[in-house]
């Protein structure tokens, strides 16, 4: 089941810090993902509206523009409920409860391996659901 072609497998990364965004894109591409990026929440929404192959939104919290990462996560869950969310932040007052259900929250600095495994788990879970597997274990 793991190696089947997936209907949606691209990752959209939204991060304010250009250098960190570039590095994260590299890390994700090395791990075999298709990666798209957006500079802020508004651009992210535009990208999401124009494509159907995005499986995961990976967002930072400090974003310029009309929404921060928390608002973006909720907006995306409301409009595209199938898209999984991974949020990353170094802010100490945030935790998983600030994000939509079944999202993953990673505190910066995180191990790249932990981020990749979080994304894989979310995509695998989504696949299992689509395949009608009723036994889904969420690691959240």
């Amino acid at each position: 089941m793991k190696n089947r072609a997936l209907a949606a497998k691209a990752i959209l990364i939204v991060e304010n810090d250009q250098l960190l965004k570039l590095l994260t894109i590299d890390i994700l591409e090395e791990a075999g993902f298709v990666v798209l990026d957006a500079a802020d929440a508004d651009e992210a929404v535009t990208v999401l509206a124009g494509r159907t192959d995005i499986a995961v939104l990976l967002t930072g919290i400090n974003l310029s523009g009309s929404m921060d990462g928390v608002s973006l996560a909720h907006a995306v869950r409301a409009r595209w409920p199938h898209i999984k969310i991974v949020a990353v932040s170094g802010r100490t007052h945030l935790s998983a409860v600030d994000f939509p259900a079944e999202s993953r929250f990673l505190r910066k600095p995180y191990h790249s391996a932990a981020m990749i495994s979080a994304i894989r788990t979310l995509i695998d879970t989504a696949d299992a659901r689509r395949d009608g597997n009723s036994q889904v274990y969420l690691d959240v």
Binding site: L23, G90, P109
Partner: protein, 351 residues
Amino acid sequence: MIGHNFKNTQDACALAHAIVNTVREPIVVLDKELRVIVASRSFYSTFKVDPDVTEGRLLFELGDGEWDIPKLRTLLEKIIPEHSTIEDYDVEHDFPSLGRRTMCLNARQVVYSGGTGTTILLGIEDVTDMRALVSEKDELLRDKDILLDELRHRVANSLQIIASIIMLKAKRVSSDEARAHLEDAHNRVMSVATVQQQLHVAGVGRIEIQPYLSKLCGALAGSMIADDRAITIEVLGDGGSAACREAESFGLIVTELVINSLKHAFNGPKKGGHITVSYDVSGDDWKLSVVDDGSGKPDGQFAQAKEGLGTGIVNALAKQLNAQVETASGPEGTSISITHATFEAKKVRAA
């Protein structure tokens, strides 16, 4: 008793007047109909009114009715007759001559033994500036929290960038040795970050050591122990707290030693293992130890990479803490303890 000091009522009146004029807090004395009998000098100066147009007039008709404040009416007409005393009752009001003021009111009803007349003493403290200072202080404290959060955010971002660059380099180098070194560097950046994170979570001031070390070891286990390795880390101890700087050193020492055990102690045929971290305190003395049940080194030294960076870090931190490092290693595992024993405690023990 005040009454015994006065031969006639005039003297008592003179004292009452003097008291009203002495207190710094503006005071108004009102009769049963809420007519001003007398007001203190501080009242006249604070609210910029003249005694001539004040005494004998109804409070609510003073000036152009600027004292006709709904909350003040409720206080004087309803609350005072029922409760006779009111303290710290805040009223905000826009005075045409003074602008918006916040007043803290204290009122007391005086009932006399002879007759039906009552008097109300109304203290009106202008707390506008004080309240403004308090709210400014709250705002500054909020700003400080925001700034601190911003700083942590930037540090976290920078550490993430450093860790990501090292990780990418590690993936791209062709030499196994170079890769091992880069992965080691990556883990050190992450462990410094983990210690900082746990300290932030623990808060400022004195840090409770056991929950702090438990969380730290939980984070280390989560990131350092692969799923196929059955290694457990346990934190023991009888509590105790330490200053932030000490706690940081404890965290770095534990991180180094735990990583060291994970790297070198469990490479034998047995995949599982157990690491025990303990922190014990007795007065000013404490002992921090990390013990594993893996395969130790026969020479009694704790297992480590050739260059001994880990040992160097632990020794330097121990020195900073005025503590001794003791290691014991054998087939049953490795035990390293860092002990801080003060001269005072030694004397007591010797006696």
